[in-house]
Protein backbone atom coordinates (compact mmCIF):
# COMPACT_ATOMS: atom_id res chain seq x y z
CA UNK A 1 0.00 0.00 0.00
CA UNK A 2 2.85 2.37 0.86
CA UNK A 3 4.34 2.03 -2.62
CA UNK A 4 0.95 2.95 -4.07
CA UNK A 5 0.76 6.03 -1.84
CA UNK A 6 4.30 6.86 -2.83
CA UNK A 7 3.49 6.57 -6.56
CA UNK A 8 0.32 8.65 -6.28
CA UNK A 9 0.36 11.10 -3.38
CA UNK A 10 4.10 11.61 -2.84
CA UNK A 11 5.02 11.88 -6.50
CA UNK A 12 2.12 14.24 -7.15
CA UNK A 13 3.05 16.36 -4.15
CA UNK A 14 6.60 16.87 -5.35
CA UNK A 15 5.56 17.64 -8.94
CA UNK A 16 2.80 20.06 -7.90
CA UNK A 17 5.13 21.92 -5.56
CA UNK A 18 8.04 21.88 -7.95
CA UNK A 19 8.06 25.66 -8.19
CA UNK A 20 8.35 26.05 -4.46
CA UNK A 21 11.14 23.47 -4.11
CA UNK A 22 12.97 24.98 -7.02
CA UNK A 23 13.06 28.30 -5.32
CA UNK A 24 13.98 26.88 -1.91
CA UNK A 25 16.81 24.99 -3.58
CA UNK A 26 18.01 28.21 -5.15
CA UNK A 27 17.63 30.02 -1.83
CA UNK A 28 19.72 27.43 -0.01
CA UNK A 29 22.38 26.63 -2.60
CA UNK A 30 22.25 29.10 -5.45
CA UNK A 31 22.29 32.47 -3.78
CA UNK A 32 25.74 32.20 -2.25
CA UNK A 33 29.04 32.19 -4.06
CA UNK A 34 30.40 28.63 -4.36
CA UNK A 35 33.49 29.53 -2.34
CA UNK A 36 31.40 30.72 0.62
CA UNK A 37 28.77 27.99 0.44
CA UNK A 38 30.22 25.78 3.18
CA UNK A 39 30.78 28.65 5.62
CA UNK A 40 27.35 30.08 4.89
CA UNK A 41 25.59 26.83 5.75
CA UNK A 42 27.84 26.21 8.72
CA UNK A 43 26.98 29.65 10.15
CA UNK A 44 23.30 29.12 9.47
CA UNK A 45 23.27 25.73 11.20
CA UNK A 46 25.24 27.09 14.16
CA UNK A 47 22.87 30.03 14.50
CA UNK A 48 19.85 27.72 14.51
CA UNK A 49 21.46 25.36 17.03
CA UNK A 50 22.61 28.07 19.44
CA UNK A 51 19.76 30.61 19.32
CA UNK A 52 16.39 29.44 20.70
CA UNK A 53 14.61 32.13 18.68
CA UNK A 54 16.14 30.88 15.43
CA UNK A 55 15.17 27.31 16.33
CA UNK A 56 11.64 28.48 17.12
CA UNK A 57 11.46 30.15 13.72
CA UNK A 58 12.50 26.86 12.15
CA UNK A 59 9.73 25.09 14.08
CA UNK A 60 7.23 27.59 12.68
CA UNK A 61 8.43 27.00 9.13
CA UNK A 62 8.20 23.22 9.65
CA UNK A 63 4.64 23.60 10.98
CA UNK A 64 3.79 25.56 7.84
CA UNK A 65 5.34 22.88 5.66
CA UNK A 66 3.47 20.14 7.58
CA UNK A 67 0.23 22.07 7.11
CA UNK A 68 0.89 22.24 3.39
CA UNK A 69 1.48 18.47 3.25
CA UNK A 70 -1.64 17.69 5.29
CA UNK A 71 -3.80 19.96 3.14
CA UNK A 72 -2.48 18.40 -0.02
CA UNK A 73 -3.13 14.83 1.14
CA UNK A 74 -6.55 15.82 2.51
CA UNK A 75 -7.50 17.39 -0.83
CA UNK A 76 -6.41 14.27 -2.72
CA UNK A 77 -8.31 12.03 -0.29
CA UNK A 78 -11.52 13.77 -1.29
CA UNK A 79 -10.97 13.25 -5.03
CA UNK A 80 -13.04 10.59 -6.76
CA UNK A 81 -9.96 9.01 -8.33
CA UNK A 82 -8.37 8.48 -4.91
CA UNK A 83 -11.15 6.34 -3.44
CA UNK A 84 -8.69 3.44 -3.33
CA UNK A 85 -7.35 5.13 -0.18
CA UNK A 86 -10.50 3.91 1.58
CA UNK A 87 -9.03 0.40 1.35
CA UNK A 88 -6.66 1.47 4.10
CA UNK A 89 -9.54 1.40 6.57
CA UNK A 90 -9.53 -2.41 6.41
CA UNK A 91 -6.21 -2.36 8.28
CA UNK A 92 -5.98 -2.07 12.05
CA UNK A 93 -5.83 1.55 13.36
CA UNK A 94 -2.18 1.14 14.37
CA UNK A 95 -1.13 -0.08 10.93
CA UNK A 96 -3.13 2.65 9.21
CA UNK A 97 -1.38 5.35 11.24
CA UNK A 98 1.96 3.68 10.49
CA UNK A 99 1.30 3.77 6.72
CA UNK A 100 0.29 7.44 6.86
CA UNK A 101 3.32 8.25 9.02
CA UNK A 102 5.63 6.57 6.48
CA UNK A 103 4.02 8.62 3.71
CA UNK A 104 4.60 11.82 5.69
CA UNK A 105 8.23 10.85 6.26
CA UNK A 106 8.58 10.75 2.45
CA UNK A 107 6.84 14.12 2.12
CA UNK A 108 8.97 15.58 4.92
CA UNK A 109 12.25 14.40 3.37
CA UNK A 110 13.51 17.88 2.40
CA UNK A 111 12.87 19.07 5.97
CA UNK A 112 14.25 15.89 7.54
CA UNK A 113 17.56 16.27 5.71
CA UNK A 114 18.00 19.71 7.25
CA UNK A 115 16.84 18.44 10.65
CA UNK A 116 19.58 15.79 10.63
CA UNK A 117 22.13 18.52 9.87
CA UNK A 118 20.82 20.66 12.74
CA UNK A 119 20.98 17.67 15.11
CA UNK A 120 24.57 16.95 14.11
CA UNK A 121 25.52 20.60 14.62
CA UNK A 122 23.78 20.69 18.00
CA UNK A 123 25.71 17.64 19.20
CA UNK A 124 28.95 19.07 17.80
CA UNK A 125 28.33 22.38 19.59
CA UNK A 126 27.27 20.56 22.77
CA UNK A 127 23.68 21.92 22.74
CA UNK A 128 22.43 18.49 23.77
CA UNK A 129 18.96 19.69 24.81
CA UNK A 130 18.18 20.55 21.22
CA UNK A 131 18.32 16.89 20.25
CA UNK A 132 15.34 15.52 22.21
CA UNK A 133 13.43 18.77 21.56
CA UNK A 134 13.83 18.59 17.78
CA UNK A 135 13.28 14.81 17.64
CA UNK A 136 10.13 15.03 19.76
CA UNK A 137 8.78 17.99 17.81
CA UNK A 138 9.38 16.32 14.42
CA UNK A 139 7.88 13.08 15.71
CA UNK A 140 4.86 14.99 16.96
CA UNK A 141 4.38 16.76 13.61
CA UNK A 142 4.52 13.51 11.63
CA UNK A 143 2.28 11.63 14.09
CA UNK A 144 -0.28 14.45 14.19
CA UNK A 145 -0.40 14.61 10.39
CA UNK A 146 -0.73 10.81 10.14
CA UNK A 147 -3.44 10.77 12.80
CA UNK A 148 -5.39 13.50 11.01
CA UNK A 149 -5.49 11.51 7.76
CA UNK A 150 -6.33 8.32 9.62
CA UNK A 151 -9.27 10.12 11.27
CA UNK A 152 -10.46 11.61 8.01
CA UNK A 153 -10.23 8.30 6.16
CA UNK A 154 -12.26 6.49 8.78
CA UNK A 155 -14.78 9.23 9.58
CA UNK A 156 -15.22 10.91 6.20
CA UNK A 157 -18.98 10.26 6.36
CA UNK A 158 -19.29 12.77 9.23
CA UNK A 159 -20.09 16.25 7.99
CA UNK A 160 -17.64 18.78 9.40
CA UNK A 161 -18.11 22.46 9.62
CA UNK A 162 -15.48 24.48 7.78
CA UNK A 163 -12.56 25.38 10.03
CA UNK A 164 -12.33 28.87 8.63
CA UNK A 165 -15.31 30.46 6.97
CA UNK A 166 -14.95 33.93 5.60
CA UNK A 167 -18.40 35.51 5.78
CA UNK A 168 -19.26 37.18 2.52
CA UNK A 169 -22.30 39.41 2.45
CA UNK A 170 -24.91 38.29 -0.07
CA UNK A 171 -24.31 40.17 -3.26
CA UNK A 172 -24.11 39.35 -6.91
CA UNK A 173 -20.66 37.93 -7.44
CA UNK A 174 -19.06 39.32 -10.61
CA UNK A 175 -18.76 36.43 -13.07
CA UNK A 176 -15.32 37.54 -14.16
CA UNK A 177 -13.81 36.71 -10.79
CA UNK A 178 -15.81 33.63 -9.72
CA UNK A 179 -12.56 31.62 -9.39
CA UNK A 180 -11.36 34.18 -6.82
CA UNK A 181 -14.39 33.42 -4.66
CA UNK A 182 -13.71 29.72 -5.11
CA UNK A 183 -10.14 30.08 -3.87
CA UNK A 184 -10.99 32.36 -0.94
CA UNK A 185 -14.19 30.67 0.19
CA UNK A 186 -13.59 27.01 -0.59
CA UNK A 187 -9.80 26.67 -0.48
CA UNK A 188 -9.24 29.12 2.38
CA UNK A 189 -6.45 27.32 4.22
CA UNK A 190 -4.61 26.38 1.02
CA UNK A 191 -4.86 30.01 -0.09
CA UNK A 192 -3.60 31.23 3.28
CA UNK A 193 -0.63 28.84 3.29
CA UNK A 194 0.21 29.81 -0.30
CA UNK A 195 0.20 33.50 0.62
CA UNK A 196 2.33 33.00 3.75
CA UNK A 197 4.90 30.98 1.77
CA UNK A 198 4.84 33.50 -1.04
CA UNK A 199 5.58 36.40 1.32
CA UNK A 200 8.19 34.42 3.24
CA UNK A 201 10.09 33.62 0.05
CA UNK A 202 9.73 37.18 -1.22
CA UNK A 203 11.07 38.56 2.04
CA UNK A 204 13.82 35.91 2.17
CA UNK A 205 15.08 37.07 -1.22
CA UNK A 206 15.18 40.69 -0.03
CA UNK A 207 17.07 39.72 3.12
CA UNK A 208 19.49 37.56 1.18
CA UNK A 209 20.49 40.39 -1.14
CA UNK A 210 20.14 43.16 1.45
CA UNK A 211 23.85 44.01 1.12
CA UNK A 212 23.48 44.87 -2.58
CA UNK A 213 21.50 48.02 -1.91
CA UNK A 214 18.59 49.37 -3.93
CA UNK A 215 18.43 47.32 -7.10
CA UNK A 216 15.20 46.52 -8.90
CA UNK A 217 16.56 43.07 -9.77
CA UNK A 218 16.46 42.02 -6.10
CA UNK A 219 12.79 42.96 -5.90
CA UNK A 220 12.16 41.13 -9.19
CA UNK A 221 13.81 37.99 -7.76
CA UNK A 222 11.47 38.31 -4.78
CA UNK A 223 8.56 38.63 -7.18
CA UNK A 224 9.74 35.55 -9.08
CA UNK A 225 9.73 33.60 -5.80
CA UNK A 226 6.17 34.76 -5.14
CA UNK A 227 5.07 33.84 -8.68
CA UNK A 228 6.57 30.35 -8.36
CA UNK A 229 4.80 29.90 -5.02
CA UNK A 230 1.51 30.32 -6.86
CA UNK A 231 1.90 27.30 -9.17
CA UNK A 232 -0.37 25.23 -6.92
CA UNK A 233 -2.99 27.96 -6.85
CA UNK A 234 -2.96 28.23 -10.65
CA UNK A 235 -3.34 24.44 -10.97
CA UNK A 236 -6.22 24.61 -8.50
CA UNK A 237 -8.00 27.30 -10.52
CA UNK A 238 -7.59 25.27 -13.71
CA UNK A 239 -9.08 22.21 -12.01
CA UNK A 240 -11.99 24.32 -10.84
CA UNK A 241 -12.55 25.63 -14.35
CA UNK A 242 -12.50 22.12 -15.76
CA UNK A 243 -14.98 20.78 -13.25
CA UNK A 244 -17.39 23.67 -12.64
CA UNK A 245 -16.94 26.34 -15.28
CA UNK A 246 -16.78 24.27 -18.46
CA UNK A 247 -20.32 25.43 -19.28
CA UNK A 248 -18.96 28.91 -20.07
CA UNK A 249 -17.31 27.50 -23.18
CA UNK A 250 -20.69 26.97 -24.80
CA UNK A 251 -21.75 30.55 -24.15
CA UNK A 252 -21.32 33.32 -26.75
CA UNK A 253 -18.51 34.99 -24.85
CA UNK A 254 -16.02 37.12 -26.77
CA UNK A 255 -12.56 35.63 -26.64
CA UNK A 256 -10.93 38.91 -25.65
CA UNK A 257 -13.38 39.17 -22.76
CA UNK A 258 -12.56 35.62 -21.67
CA UNK A 259 -8.87 36.52 -21.86
CA UNK A 260 -9.37 39.65 -19.77
CA UNK A 261 -11.37 37.66 -17.20
CA UNK A 262 -8.51 35.16 -16.96
CA UNK A 263 -5.98 37.91 -16.40
CA UNK A 264 -8.24 39.70 -13.93
CA UNK A 265 -8.54 36.58 -11.74
CA UNK A 266 -4.75 36.21 -11.61
CA UNK A 267 -4.29 39.92 -10.97
CA UNK A 268 -6.78 40.00 -8.09
CA UNK A 269 -5.17 36.98 -6.44
CA UNK A 270 -1.70 38.48 -6.81
CA UNK A 271 -2.55 42.01 -5.59
CA UNK A 272 -0.95 41.60 -2.10
CA UNK A 273 2.41 40.54 -3.57
CA UNK A 274 2.25 43.28 -6.19
CA UNK A 275 1.60 45.94 -3.53
CA UNK A 276 4.53 44.63 -1.55
CA UNK A 277 6.68 44.74 -4.68
CA UNK A 278 5.54 48.30 -5.49
CA UNK A 279 6.52 49.37 -2.00
CA UNK A 280 9.90 47.63 -2.35
CA UNK A 281 10.69 49.53 -5.57
CA UNK A 282 9.54 52.81 -3.98
CA UNK A 283 6.62 53.15 -6.40
CA UNK A 284 8.84 53.85 -9.42
CA UNK A 285 6.55 53.77 -12.43
CA UNK A 286 8.83 51.77 -14.77
CA UNK A 287 9.73 49.20 -12.14
CA UNK A 288 6.07 48.87 -11.18
CA UNK A 289 5.01 48.31 -14.80
CA UNK A 290 7.82 45.78 -15.23
CA UNK A 291 6.72 43.85 -12.14
CA UNK A 292 3.06 43.93 -13.12
CA UNK A 293 3.71 42.59 -16.63
CA UNK A 294 6.21 40.03 -15.33
CA UNK A 295 3.72 38.72 -12.73
CA UNK A 296 0.79 38.45 -15.11
CA UNK A 297 2.93 36.91 -17.85
CA UNK A 298 4.36 34.34 -15.42
CA UNK A 299 1.04 33.33 -13.85
CA UNK A 300 -0.83 33.27 -17.15
CA UNK A 301 1.87 31.23 -18.85
CA UNK A 302 1.68 28.67 -15.98
CA UNK A 303 -2.00 28.28 -16.68
CA UNK A 304 -1.64 28.04 -20.45
CA UNK A 305 1.25 25.59 -20.23
CA UNK A 306 -0.63 23.36 -17.79
CA UNK A 307 -3.64 23.48 -20.14
CA UNK A 308 -1.55 22.70 -23.22
CA UNK A 309 0.11 19.81 -21.40
CA UNK A 310 -3.34 18.43 -20.57
CA UNK A 311 -2.47 18.58 -16.90
CA UNK A 312 0.69 16.46 -17.31
CA UNK A 313 2.56 17.58 -14.23
CA UNK A 314 5.88 15.92 -15.13
CA UNK A 315 6.17 18.10 -18.21
CA UNK A 316 4.88 21.06 -16.21
CA UNK A 317 7.84 20.59 -13.88
CA UNK A 318 10.20 20.78 -16.84
CA UNK A 319 8.52 24.00 -17.92
CA UNK A 320 8.92 25.47 -14.44
CA UNK A 321 12.64 24.73 -14.57
CA UNK A 322 12.93 26.46 -17.94
CA UNK A 323 10.77 29.35 -16.78
CA UNK A 324 12.85 29.76 -13.62
CA UNK A 325 16.15 29.69 -15.49
CA UNK A 326 14.85 32.02 -18.22
CA UNK A 327 13.43 34.49 -15.72
CA UNK A 328 16.62 34.49 -13.64
CA UNK A 329 18.75 35.21 -16.71
CA UNK A 330 16.31 37.90 -17.90
CA UNK A 331 16.34 39.60 -14.48
CA UNK A 332 20.13 39.57 -14.25
CA UNK A 333 20.45 40.92 -17.81
CA UNK A 334 17.84 43.67 -17.23
CA UNK A 335 15.65 42.12 -19.93
CA UNK A 336 12.59 41.29 -17.84
CA UNK A 337 10.24 43.41 -19.90
CA UNK A 338 11.15 41.73 -23.20
CA UNK A 339 11.09 38.31 -21.55
CA UNK A 340 7.65 38.99 -20.03
CA UNK A 341 6.26 40.36 -23.27
CA UNK A 342 7.48 37.29 -25.16
CA UNK A 343 5.89 34.99 -22.58
CA UNK A 344 2.65 36.98 -22.66
CA UNK A 345 2.62 36.95 -26.46
CA UNK A 346 3.03 33.17 -26.61
CA UNK A 347 0.46 32.55 -23.87
CA UNK A 348 -2.10 34.88 -25.42
CA UNK A 349 -1.53 33.32 -28.84
CA UNK A 350 -2.12 29.90 -27.32
CA UNK A 351 -5.23 31.13 -25.56
CA UNK A 352 -6.67 32.68 -28.72
CA UNK A 353 -6.00 29.80 -31.07
CA UNK A 354 -5.98 26.63 -29.00
CA UNK A 355 -7.44 27.15 -25.55
CA UNK A 356 -11.03 26.37 -26.56
CA UNK A 357 -9.89 23.39 -28.58
CA UNK A 358 -8.54 21.70 -25.48
CA UNK A 359 -11.08 19.23 -24.21
CA UNK A 360 -11.13 19.25 -20.43
CA UNK A 361 -12.09 15.57 -20.52
CA UNK A 362 -8.69 14.78 -22.10
CA UNK A 363 -6.92 16.54 -19.29
CA UNK A 364 -5.13 14.61 -16.64
CA UNK A 365 -6.75 16.53 -13.84
CA UNK A 366 -9.18 15.33 -11.23
CA UNK A 367 -12.73 16.59 -11.60
Amino acid sequence: MLSLLHKTLAREFYTQHAGLFLFLFYLIFGAVEPGQMLNYHKSLLMAISSAPLALLSCFLVWILYALKCVLFVHKQQKQANHTFLNLLTTLSPGRQIKVWAKLYIILFLPVLVYIVLILMTSVYMKYYWNVPGIVLFTGFLISAAAFYNYRFNNNSFIQHKALIRIPFPLFRKPEAIWPVFYVIQQQTIMFFVCKVLSFLLFKAMLWMFADIGPDVRVALFGLLAAILSHTVLVAMILKHEASCLSFTRSLPLLRRKALLNNLLVLLVLFIPELLFYFQTVDFQIIAMAQGLIFSLAGLFSFKMVLTSLRGNENNYLKFLLVMFAGSAVAILAHQVLYFSLSMSGLSIAYFCYSYYKTDYKDMNIEH
Binding site: E175, C244, L245
Partner: protein, 136 residues
Protein backbone atom coordinates in the same frame (compact mmCIF):
# COMPACT_ATOMS: atom_id res chain seq x y z
CA UNK B 1 -27.29 30.88 -31.40
CA UNK B 2 -26.91 27.33 -30.07
CA UNK B 3 -27.69 26.30 -26.52
CA UNK B 4 -26.29 23.21 -24.87
CA UNK B 5 -27.41 21.57 -21.64
CA UNK B 6 -25.04 19.04 -20.14
CA UNK B 7 -26.17 15.58 -19.02
CA UNK B 8 -24.69 16.05 -15.58
CA UNK B 9 -24.35 19.80 -15.03
CA UNK B 10 -21.71 21.01 -12.64
CA UNK B 11 -21.64 24.62 -11.50
CA UNK B 12 -19.67 26.56 -8.87
CA UNK B 13 -21.14 25.77 -5.46
CA UNK B 14 -20.50 29.23 -4.03
CA UNK B 15 -22.82 31.14 -6.36
CA UNK B 16 -26.61 31.25 -6.26
CA UNK B 17 -29.00 30.04 -8.93
CA UNK B 18 -29.78 33.67 -9.72
CA UNK B 19 -26.06 34.48 -10.15
CA UNK B 20 -25.84 31.77 -12.80
CA UNK B 21 -29.08 32.76 -14.50
CA UNK B 22 -28.11 36.45 -14.53
CA UNK B 23 -24.84 35.49 -16.18
CA UNK B 24 -26.69 33.62 -18.94
CA UNK B 25 -29.12 36.52 -19.36
CA UNK B 26 -26.25 39.00 -19.66
CA UNK B 27 -24.16 36.94 -22.07
CA UNK B 28 -27.07 35.95 -24.30
CA UNK B 29 -28.75 39.34 -23.99
CA UNK B 30 -31.97 37.63 -22.96
CA UNK B 31 -35.14 39.04 -21.45
CA UNK B 32 -35.37 38.73 -17.69
CA UNK B 33 -39.14 38.26 -17.75
CA UNK B 34 -38.96 35.14 -19.92
CA UNK B 35 -36.31 33.63 -17.66
CA UNK B 36 -38.41 34.35 -14.57
CA UNK B 37 -41.31 32.63 -16.26
CA UNK B 38 -39.13 29.59 -16.99
CA UNK B 39 -37.96 29.53 -13.38
CA UNK B 40 -41.56 29.60 -12.16
CA UNK B 41 -42.63 26.82 -14.53
CA UNK B 42 -39.89 24.55 -13.21
CA UNK B 43 -40.89 25.45 -9.63
CA UNK B 44 -37.46 26.88 -8.87
CA UNK B 45 -38.33 30.51 -7.97
CA UNK B 46 -38.07 29.94 -4.21
CA UNK B 47 -34.61 28.41 -4.49
CA UNK B 48 -32.92 30.81 -6.87
CA UNK B 49 -31.30 32.86 -4.11
CA UNK B 50 -29.81 29.79 -2.47
CA UNK B 51 -26.27 28.68 -3.15
CA UNK B 52 -25.94 26.01 -5.83
CA UNK B 53 -23.95 23.89 -3.37
CA UNK B 54 -27.20 23.27 -1.48
CA UNK B 55 -29.09 22.01 -4.57
CA UNK B 56 -30.10 18.40 -5.15
CA UNK B 57 -29.18 16.80 -8.48
CA UNK B 58 -32.77 17.30 -9.68
CA UNK B 59 -32.65 21.02 -8.87
CA UNK B 60 -29.29 21.29 -10.58
CA UNK B 61 -30.71 19.69 -13.70
CA UNK B 62 -33.72 22.04 -13.66
CA UNK B 63 -31.39 25.02 -13.30
CA UNK B 64 -29.34 23.84 -16.27
CA UNK B 65 -32.52 23.54 -18.34
CA UNK B 66 -33.67 27.04 -17.29
CA UNK B 67 -30.28 28.40 -18.37
CA UNK B 68 -30.41 26.40 -21.60
CA UNK B 69 -33.80 27.92 -22.51
CA UNK B 70 -32.59 31.44 -21.69
CA UNK B 71 -32.02 33.68 -24.73
CA UNK B 72 -33.01 33.70 -28.34
CA UNK B 73 -31.74 30.27 -29.38
CA UNK B 74 -32.04 28.61 -32.78
CA UNK B 75 -30.83 25.14 -31.90
CA UNK B 76 -31.09 23.47 -28.50
CA UNK B 77 -28.84 20.52 -27.78
CA UNK B 78 -30.07 18.74 -24.69
CA UNK B 79 -27.92 15.90 -23.43
CA UNK B 80 -29.95 13.37 -21.43
CA UNK B 81 -32.58 15.97 -20.51
CA UNK B 82 -34.76 13.53 -18.59
CA UNK B 83 -32.29 12.14 -16.09
CA UNK B 84 -32.65 13.15 -12.42
CA UNK B 85 -35.80 15.25 -12.99
CA UNK B 86 -39.23 14.28 -11.67
CA UNK B 87 -42.26 13.61 -13.88
CA UNK B 88 -43.68 17.08 -13.19
CA UNK B 89 -40.50 18.76 -14.44
CA UNK B 90 -40.39 16.35 -17.39
CA UNK B 91 -43.91 17.51 -18.32
CA UNK B 92 -42.73 21.14 -18.19
CA UNK B 93 -39.78 20.25 -20.40
CA UNK B 94 -42.00 18.48 -22.95
CA UNK B 95 -44.34 21.46 -23.09
CA UNK B 96 -41.43 23.89 -23.48
CA UNK B 97 -39.97 21.85 -26.33
CA UNK B 98 -43.37 21.77 -28.08
CA UNK B 99 -43.87 25.48 -27.51
CA UNK B 100 -40.42 26.55 -28.73
CA UNK B 101 -40.54 24.12 -31.63
CA UNK B 102 -43.81 25.78 -32.64
CA UNK B 103 -41.85 29.04 -32.84
CA UNK B 104 -39.48 27.46 -35.37
CA UNK B 105 -36.70 26.42 -32.99
CA UNK B 106 -34.91 23.09 -33.41
CA UNK B 107 -34.03 20.53 -30.79
CA UNK B 108 -31.47 17.78 -30.69
CA UNK B 109 -31.96 15.44 -27.78
CA UNK B 110 -29.57 12.69 -26.83
CA UNK B 111 -31.08 10.13 -24.55
CA UNK B 112 -30.72 6.56 -23.39
CA UNK B 113 -34.40 6.59 -22.50
CA UNK B 114 -37.22 6.13 -24.99
CA UNK B 115 -39.15 9.34 -25.54
CA UNK B 116 -42.87 8.72 -25.20
CA UNK B 117 -44.48 9.81 -28.53
CA UNK B 118 -47.59 10.82 -26.58
CA UNK B 119 -45.54 13.44 -24.78
CA UNK B 120 -43.22 14.59 -27.54
CA UNK B 121 -43.33 14.43 -31.31
CA UNK B 122 -39.94 13.28 -32.54
CA UNK B 123 -39.30 14.05 -36.20
CA UNK B 124 -36.27 11.85 -36.61
CA UNK B 125 -34.21 9.59 -34.45
CA UNK B 126 -30.71 8.31 -34.85
CA UNK B 127 -28.35 5.98 -33.10
CA UNK B 128 -24.60 5.83 -33.09
CA UNK B 129 -22.88 2.71 -34.34
CA UNK B 130 -19.13 2.51 -34.91
CA UNK B 131 -18.89 6.28 -34.58
CA UNK B 132 -21.45 6.74 -37.34
CA UNK B 133 -24.84 8.36 -37.06
CA UNK B 134 -27.48 5.97 -38.42
CA UNK B 135 -31.11 6.87 -38.97
CA UNK B 136 -33.60 4.59 -37.20
Amino acid sequence: MISYAEAEPSYPEYITGNDLLNYHIAVRKAEREISDNLTARFGMTAFMDQKIGSYSSGMLKKLSLICAFTGNIELYILDEPLITIDTQAAEVLYSLIEEYNGQGKSFLLSSHQDIDPLHLRVKASFYIKDRKLISC
